[in-house]
């Protein structure tokens, strides 16, 4: 496909869409689909057919505020309906052209106003199973225009200029990584997309892969051109079957129209992507473990250096980025590095998608510019803590992150600010906790997660997390002593400094941060044998079973 053909196709898609008086977009992402969005779409289809109105009913990816689902948005008015059932379909179709159905309507303007959508720009607007829908919204324009106008170095320069940093959690400058792989010696190189999203409470990457799969593929193809690779792998966890099927369909469609394969856009550039499934190990999100898993070996991390940039898949230079990082690439190529650079805070550019979960009104996905305060995300966009409870802390970065107390939430979101507070940006999970959450219990939960997900290769992570979990359980159950607390801190230091990979090195973070900000709660459990939040089953007598 040439760029002219692509533009023609985009124009015809837009013209076809414009033929309809109304577009009824039904969110069919996992959260809405699990609440019957499929049946709602069918009912809407039937109601439209019966009414004789000129309406397009489209299934789309995630619209964001999942807790209000199933969601339907009617364009061009942008009327949003929440918590729909199939019996509402006739009412909604009947109301097209007159006043919207007020009892089903929801006003989330404050939720959407604070957001800036780059990664999620198509979410809720395209049918993820139709490549035409993506092309109609400037999809693959970046890839083809780049192939005809830019050199690989130019692409890397633009990415560097944008200031994009890795969205998987580490925040490594993307342009620098691309440049390193491009310079690495060797003819065969690989592009790998890390879609092994495993943090509890994180579903950003799933939504992108399910709702806008072509965006990831386009980002990877651009990366392939920039570093000189002709083969890419998307590593998706098998727990995301919908993402896998959407990606599979997307790859097939992209090959069909010639946007993947040999001589793309009549140039010498060849690129294709293969999907590899994870088998349920969290540690496979660690890059060296992920590469081992793609190669068909046990997903164990190895020591770095050598970094994948010089020796990755089968010993070849390999570029490995996260789903959200690749999802940012096409807009940067389209709009320029400066455009992206102008968004965000000083050292963290662009936007970040967060998955808001826990004790918050608007559970779901939000995309905000970097630098926005955590308070704004929670109070304004997230709608605050429901039920009259008091906000206590926010956990970011999953099991590798930490808990930030409510009085520190004025800080703007950036890689460095979160690190300074003892947490990390992570891939974007954000768990909101109120006064009914016990911080000792939270720490214990994450430690249990790390313990069961440790690959078992290095001693500090394997045995250390198990020890920490034992101590935390002891404290939570009221049998802990102040010496246990000291021992716990000792273990934190060793596990953090001596572990082989990121999983172990960051596993103590939930404990360290809760000890830093909520030490009184630990002491309450130990000294007064009391759980202030009433979560832990504290007993005065230790049961002896052995």
């Amino acid at each position: 496909m040439t760029i002219e053909e692509l533009e023609q196709l985009a124009i015809s898609v837009r013209r076809d869409n414009a033929k309809f008086d109304y577009q009824v977009n039904v969110c069919m992402d996992l959260a809405c689909a699990s609440q019957g969005a499929g049946a709602i779409k069918e009912a809407l289809d039937q109601a439209v057919a019966a009414s004789g109105k000129n309406v397009l009913v489209r299934r789309t990816g995630c619209m964001g505020p999942c807790s209000h689902g199933p969601l339907v948005r009617v364009d061009p008015e942008k009327t949003l309906y929440r918590k729909l059932k199939s019996e509402h379909a006739e009412k909604i179709v009947g109301a097209l052209g007159s006043k919207p159905v007020s009892e089903l309507q929801c006003d989330l303007s404050e939720h959407f106003e604070g957001q800036v959508r780059v990664v999620l720009e198509n979410a809720g607007y395209i049918d993820p199973s139709k490549i035409e829908d993506y092309i109609g919204r400037d999809g693959y324009k970046a890839l083809l225009s780049m192939l005809t106008e830019m050199t690989p170095n130019g692409v890397i320069h633009r990415i560097t200029e944008s200031g994009l940093r890795g969205r998987g959690g580490g925040g490594y400058p993307t342009g620098l990584k691309w440049g390193t792989v491009a310079k690495a010696a060797g003819d065969t190189k690989f592009v790998v997309c890390n879609g092994d999203e495993g943090d509890p409470g994180a579903f950003m990457d799933r939504s992108v892969m399910e709702g806008d799969p072509h965006r990831v593929i386009e980002g990877m193809a651009i990366a392939g051109y920039a570093i000189g690779a002709s083969k890419g792998y998307i590593y998706v966890r098998a727990e995301y079957p919908l993402a896998v099927s959407r990606l599979t369909a997307a790859l097939r469609d992209a090959r069909r129209v010639g946007l993947l394969g040999m001589n793309i856009c009549n140039t010498t550039f060849n690129f294709d992507v293969e999907i590899r499934l994870g088998a349920g190990a969290f540690v496979c999100g660690e890059e060296t473990a992920l590469l081992a898993s793609i190669e068909g070996r046990r997903g164990n991390p190895r020591t770095r250096p050598p970094y994948p940039a010089s020796s990755g898949l089968w010993g070849k230079p390999t570029l490995i980025n996260n789903v959200e990082t690749y999802a940012n690439i096409a807009p940067i190529i389209r709009n320029g590095g400066k455009w992206f650079h102008n968004m965000g805070s000083e050292r963290s550019k662009g936007t970040k998608v967060f998955a808001l979960t826990g004790k918050i009104a608007n559970t779901g996905l939000v995309e905000v510019p970097m630098g926005i305060s955590l308070k704004d995300i929670i109070e304004k966009i997230g709608g605050g803590v429901p039920g009259g409870h008091k906000l206590k802390a926010v956990q970011t970065g999953g099991p590798s992150g930490g808990c930030i107390p409510a009085n520190m939430l004025d800080v703007g979101v950036s890689y460095d600010a979160l690190l300074k507070m003892g947490s990390i940006m992570g891939s974007g999970g954000m768990i909101v906790m109120d006064d009914t959450s016990c911080m000792v219990n939270v720490a214990r939960f994450f430690m249990e997660f790390c313990m069961t997900e440790s690959c078992g290769k290095c001693v500090p992570c394997r045995a250390g997390t198990a020890q920490m979990h034992t101590l935390l359980t002891r404290i939570a159950e009221g049998h802990g002593s102040m010496e246990d607390l000291e021992l716990l801190e000792d273990l934190c230091a060793t596990v953090k400094e001596a572990s082989l990979c990121g999983l172990g090195q960051t596993a103590p973070n939930p404990v360290l941060s809760t000890l830093k900000y909520f030490r009184a709660e630990y002491e309450e459990h130990i000294v007064h044998k009391r759980c202030p939040a009433g979560i832990c089953k504290v007993s005065h007598v230790e049961e002896v079973t052995a």
Binding site: C458, P460, A463
Partner: protein
């Protein structure tokens, strides 16, 4: 100058030493008789950097790096012994002792155990951590050898020697975290596996996890020294 003849100079514990490019910090330290504790490393096998006892401080790097897989660089300043390193090494040893059931007095490897002598050399007299007391299996199905998982420290030496030296790859690892087990074939009984009965894994095992049944009740020293010689002969 070819890369092989490239010589690096560096300091280890304030001693100036020279090394060939590509050598590991551990190799160079041992050549110069600077002790660095190791459990998973064994001369003659590939390195995995799993036990984390050989961690050293390198000036300019905030992270501790494992000496067994870190290659020398010109001008490196390495510290192999410090309060911080000693503390981590002791804690790691304690973790190993508390993880499974290491009861030296009834162990076949008593007095010939690398874990035991490591603890002795570090002056480890007691364990602060709670013992996990988890029960692990014993597989005595092989006619000559037994694996007692209670004594296994998951150093992976058996796996490596079987795959890299014997070429049989009978041993591998299953499960995650503290549930990890070294297994023969796809967790078949050792006696029913494709094991060639060469006994190399028993000789390289640092503890009493793998032992020769015939040696129960008598001293059971392990002899992993055959490895460097074997490698030398193979490459000759």
């Amino acid at each position: 100058m070819s890369p092989d003849s490239d010589v690096k100079t560096l300091t280890i514990d304030e001693r100036e030493v020279s090394a060939r490019a590509g050598q590991t910090v551990l190799d160079v330290a041992r050549e110069n008789e600077i002790p660095i504790p190791t459990l998973c490393h064994l001369e003659g096998l590939s390195d995995v950097g799993a036990c984390r006892l050989c961690l050293v401080e390198i000036a300019g790097s905030p992270k501790l790096l494992p000496a067994c897989v870190t290659t020398v660089q010109e001008g490196m300043q390495i510290t192999t012994d410090s309060e911080r390193l000693r503390k981590h090494r002791r804690t790691i040893l304690e973790m190993l002792f508390a993880e499974r059931n290491h009861v030296c007095s009834v162990c076949v490897a008593n007095n010939h155990c690398e874990l035991q002598s490591m603890a002795q050399s570090m002056g480890l007299t007691h364990i602060r951590l709670p013992y996990r007391n988890a029960a692990y299996d014993v597989d005595a199905s092989h006619i000559r050898f037994t694996v007692d998982h209670n004594r296994c420290i998951l150093c992976q030496r058996c796996i490596r020697v079987c795959a890299e030296i014997e070429g049989a790859h009978v041993w591998d690892i299953m499960n995650r975290g503290t549930n990890c087990l070294v297994i023969t074939d796809l967790k078949d009984d050792w006696g029913a596996s494709t094991c060639t009965s060469c006994g190399k894994c028993v000789e390289v095992c640092p503890t009493g996890a793998l032992f020769n049944k015939a040696r129960v009740g008598s001293p059971h020293p392990k002899k992993p020294e055959f490895l460097p010689y074997l490698n030398l002969m193979r490459n000759a």
